[in-house]
């Protein structure tokens, strides 16, 4: 009598969570834009046996944006998931993994991210500022002013904008623009950049040459600009937290099997 097929995996089973963790590390490792994502829910899992100790696993994941920029050295475990009121951004991912002799590796992944609807935020928090478009004139003005302000005061490398991460505009009670943006250090000092900014080149793509800034521009009732930039090369890197160990599961470094 043939053996009965194994019971299907549940989404909260340790094996499913182990596969989701490998998938999440892969997704964050492949991304070069925006913020790191954290697992919110395993939507579905399907296991297709290929042979003895060889399975293909299809995962559907629901992710949430954290406050850690993707270039930040902070381990995901230390990153805070953005609250609903901060206008959360969700990621939906389909991931295909292979598990051979207990070793998981990602074969392919496809993700789509989108911000929660404004109506949802308004229901919970009528006064919360909503996400603004990255190409909004006020957002671009704020980023430019903030970077100029920072560069005019620093004695370190001249910083150039890499990308705007997110921006929010509040109209009541005051008119406030808040932006977050990634920056890269150049081979110029701020003084050298004043003479010929066009000659300033980004330093090699090393994490220590990247940074992240937050700018708050108050436009009314009175004008004010506050800029805070953190360069990753100037901080003590947090120790990598080892992956959780699940019984019977070994981890492989993902990233080489993408199709």
């Amino acid at each position: 009598v043939p053996a009965a097929p194994p019971a299907p995996l549940g989404c909260d089973d340790p094996e499913s969570e182990a596969a989701a963790e490998v998938a999440l590390n892969y997704i964050n490792g492949q991304s070069h834009h925006g913020y790191k994502f954290a697992l919110n829910r395993i939507e579905d899992i399907r296991v297709v046996p290929q042979g003895p100790n060889n399975d293909i696993i299809f995962l559907e994941l629901d992710l949430l944006e954290t406050t850690c920029p993707i270039l930040s050295p902070t381990p995901l475990a230390n990153c805070t998931v953005r609250s609903f009121a901060e206008h959360a951004v969700e990621g939906d991912c389909d991931v295909k993994l292979q598990k051979v002799d207990g070793i998981l590796s990602v074969l392919a992944s496809k993700c789509h991210s989108h911000a929660d609807s404004s109506e949802d935020i308004r229901k919970v928090c009528p006064d919360c500022p909503l996400l603004a478009r990255m190409n909004d004139t006020e957002v671009l003005e704020t980023v430019s002013a903030a970077l100029n302000d920072y560069n005019s005061k620093t004695t370190d490398s001249y910083l150039r904008l890499l990308e705007i991460g997110r921006a929010k505009i509040q109209y009541h009670p005051g008119h406030v623009v808040v932006t977050e943006f990634a920056v890269g250090a150049t081979n110029c000092s701020a003084q050298e950049a004043k003479a010929n900014v066009g000659a300033c080149q980004l330093l090699p793509e090393d994490q220590s040459n990247f940074g992240f800034c937050t700018a708050v521009m108050v436009k009314a009732p009175s004008q004010d600009l506050q800029v805070d930039c953190q360069l990753y090369g100037h901080q003590v890197p947090a120790p990598d937290i080892p992956l959780l160990s699940w019984p019977g599961v070994t981890y492989a470094h993902p990233g080489q099997d993408t199709s």
Binding site: G10, L39, N40, I42, E43, D44, L64, V81, F84
Partner: protein, 38 residues
Amino acid sequence: SVAKRAVPEAAQHDKVPRPVGFVPPPPPCPGRIRYFDI
């Protein structure tokens, strides 16, 4: 003409009584929400 027939209710005697304090297992998928639902 179509006649409507009464359908007998399913027999009740074959139901297995649940022990006191029995909590049915959660559905296998989707899994738990770790933060909040969007």
